[in-house]
């Protein structure tokens, strides 16, 4: 029997205890994996390569202030800028304020928007129809399916910021890998319904030609308007999204401290189990030593056992989290989760944490067990 086999066999000697420990670790690691995925989604992932090429320009003071529409053409003159579309938050209510009826509506330029978000796919004939109907709208497929909308359907969205209602016909349904439910309509709709807001835009969405130019172009845009009555702030799409996360509070610290608490909790659980296991086997350790096994072997034997249990728990937890994320993203209200996936590195980190917990939890009790005098050990009554 090889040592690793011995360790595995030992791990399942007290089946109930090992199982309970593994389950306990599994639940904690499930949580850890979920939190790590959210953290990664917020702070580490850069999104699709196209997203890194997009800039969002808003009023420097805050999003609630307008920019003049002519900024769009001025931005276009900056070398490296490929496409620019206005992007106006409408903030309307469809039916009621229930979460399942909440989606974003943006006033855009239909002739250019799908060149800016070029990874989203629209059938060419529908795109043409959307471009030619000033009271037309484009929605993503998930949203259309949720409400049973088909091309040609009329949808009414009540205005909250603007004193008008949006009465639009769905002209295009596009496919997007992005989880965000949104409806695009022509800014001209608002301009014509409310002449007093004409010439204003909320934000500008800009596509630049290469990743190297992102920083210089965003600087160039802000410098262009620095001394005007409406100074701007330009960020990457990711940075813009993160500014919303930052408003929720210190999310980073919140996630990290919960992760810390979870890891410490499983360390305690695992250490407790190992302490119990090794205490029970004091006599066995003495016998092994008498048979000539070295301290190092005994140490690795017990550490191997603990790691077997914790990695088993880790596998259960990380796999559970992966499945849970997939299920959650398929739920009707689960759009929040679509942006997060458990990817291979996260999965491996979770397993590594499990292995590390196993190692640390077994090290101290097994070290003291391996140091124990043989005669004392043999005399020990369990």
């Amino acid at each position: 029997m090889t040592l690793s086999r011995f360790a595995t066999k030992n791990a399942f000697r007290n089946r109930r205890r090992s199982f309970i420990t593994a389950i306990s670790i599994a639940f904690s690691l499930l949580l850890l994996t979920l939190l790590m995925s959210v953290y990664r989604g917020f702070y580490i992932d850069q999104g699709p390569p196209e997203s890194a090429l997009r800039l969002v320009t808003r009023h420097k003071v805050s999003l609630v202030f307008w920019l003049p529409s002519y900024y769009r053409e001025k931005v276009r003159t900056i070398p490296g800028v490929v496409r620019v579309s206005p992007w106006n938050w409408f903030g309307g209510i469809y039916k009621d304020t229930k979460p399942e009826n909440t989606f974003a509506q943006f006033g855009v330029d239909p002739s250019e928007i799908f060149d800016v978000i070029k990874e989203d796919r629209v059938p060419p004939d529908q795109l043409e129809a959307f471009k030619h109907d000033r009271a037309g709208a484009a929605v993503n497929r998930a949203l259309a399916e949720k409400h049973g909308w088909k091309v040609g359907d009329k949808v009414i969205v009540k205005g909250t910021i603007y004193p008008i209602n949006l009465e639009v016909t769905i002209r295009a349904i596009y496919d997007s890998d992005n989880a965000f439910d949104s409806m695009f309509f022509s800014t001209e709709y608002i301009d014509q319904a409310l002449p007093r807001v004409k010439g204003r835009t909320g934000t500008l969405y800009t596509l630049v030609d290469s990743p190297e130019h992102v920083t210089s172009i965003s600087k160039a845009i802000d410098e262009m308007f620095a001394n005007s009555p409406q100074p701007t702030k330009t960020e990457t799409e990711k940075g813009f999204t993160l500014s919303f996360v930052a408003q929720l509070g210190n999310v980073k610290l919140f996630i990290l401290s919960i992760c810390g608490a979870v890891v410490f909790a499983i360390l305690l659980v695992s250490a407790n189990t190992m302490a119990m296991t090794i205490r029970e086997r004091t006599r066995e350790v003495a016998v092994l030593k008498t048979l000539g096994f070295t301290r190092r072997t005994i140490l690795s034997l017990y550490i191997g056992e603990a790691m077997t249990i914790s990695v088993f728990g880790g596998l259960l937890g990380a796999t559970g989290a992966t499945l849970l994320m997939i299920i959650a993203s398929k739920m009707p209200n689960g759009t929040f989760f679509t942006g997060f996936k458990v990817n291979t590195p996260t999965y491996l980190v979770a397993l590594a944490v499990a292995a590390l917990v196993g190692f640390v939890s077994a090290f101290f009790p097994s070290y003291s067990a391996s140091q124990r005098n043989i005669v004392d050990g043999l005399r020990h009554i369990g």
């Binding site: 205890r17 306990s24 949580l31 805050s62 009555p229 408003q247 919960i258 909790a265 302490a275």
Partner: protein, 431 residues
Amino acid sequence: MRILALASEGPLTSVVKASIDKRSGMARLKPVPSLNRIRENRSKMAIPITYNVRNLRLRLGATMMTALGIALTVAVAVFIMALLAGLKKAFVSSGDPLNVLVLRKGSQAELQSGVDRESYQTIKYLPGIAKDKAGEPLASGEVVVVIVIPRKDSSGETNVTVRGMSPTGFELRPAIKLAEGRWFNTGQREIVVSKSVSSRFRNAALGDELFFGKGKCKVVGVFDAGETAASSEIWADVNQMASDFERSAAFSSVLVHATDSIAAQSLKNRMNDDQRLRLDAFMEPDYYGEQTKSGKPIQFVGTIVAFVMAIGSCFAAMNTMYAAVAYRSREIATLRIVGFSRPSIITSFVIESVLLALLGAALGLILMLPFNGLTTGTANSLTFSETVFSVRITFAVLVTAIGFAVAMGLFGGIAPAWHASRGEILAALRD
């Protein structure tokens, strides 16, 4: 040879004296009435709790490790509940029941709304509005915008509400007191900030200058709004703000103070029903109460986190209790022999598990106590700005946390306790 043995007769075991008949060489079993009487009395007795306490103390290492695990779970749950309690407090205690807030029809919040100056004049002279000393109606047209300013702790920038108001605005909010400096002067680029804005954001201390609108604004005062929604705001002169932010055409909202509660209600109804005005009026407390739903994301994430951690802790407690049962199998058998019934053994072990969880709850609460009163902020989905609130470990939070821990102890303890009561007595004694 004579031995004491246990014979099972139906549900009750009894102590019997076994002896070998010398003549026939057969075993003879004879009940021992005195011992059995004691056992019968015992079976109605519960095992004292001190027994459990002593056992927990005996296995201090395992007890502490499990309790700490439960403590961490309780701590996370307490923190989340305390956040929500604080947030709720900030909204529930906001608003005067006699104040009526007027917005444009269809607007959900002040930020989206616009009430033109003409409507303001109409609203101002509606019947039922209280008058100030000079005989002017207590009505304040206000301009509400949000600005983005960086937090001190470099955790990012966030939106803060700036409220432009006339001095009548102070009279409508008598609960809000000046803590430092003075109120702003009308027509000046001066602002007063709430205590928490002053302490949480850069360049917001008394005497500092914040840049927004069309230039710098000097912080001339700090006000104390207690734990209300206003404690997340910056106040400035309404006309100054209107021109700075080009909002001269309309106010964002109008706040009026009614003479009494009946007048308040009728003012509200009147404005809601007037088709020409196209306004939505709210009782001020209702308007803020609605915003408590800003806590939804915290509640959602928090519930999941606490629940999953609790399951993990349940299993940890179960493990410890199983070990306790295995370790004490002989002891349990002895208890059974001296007459304690199965239910009393189950109860005893469940109690031990709950005690373990309570110890965890106590540790968890101690761990979280330093966070009580800590000020933090979160995005308010309705005002599109940050709402500052304090973490509050209220009595309800305390009770819920203890209940939560007891539930963990119960779930973790029942299976091991059941096993403890089912063990083979004789086999356990021989071990």
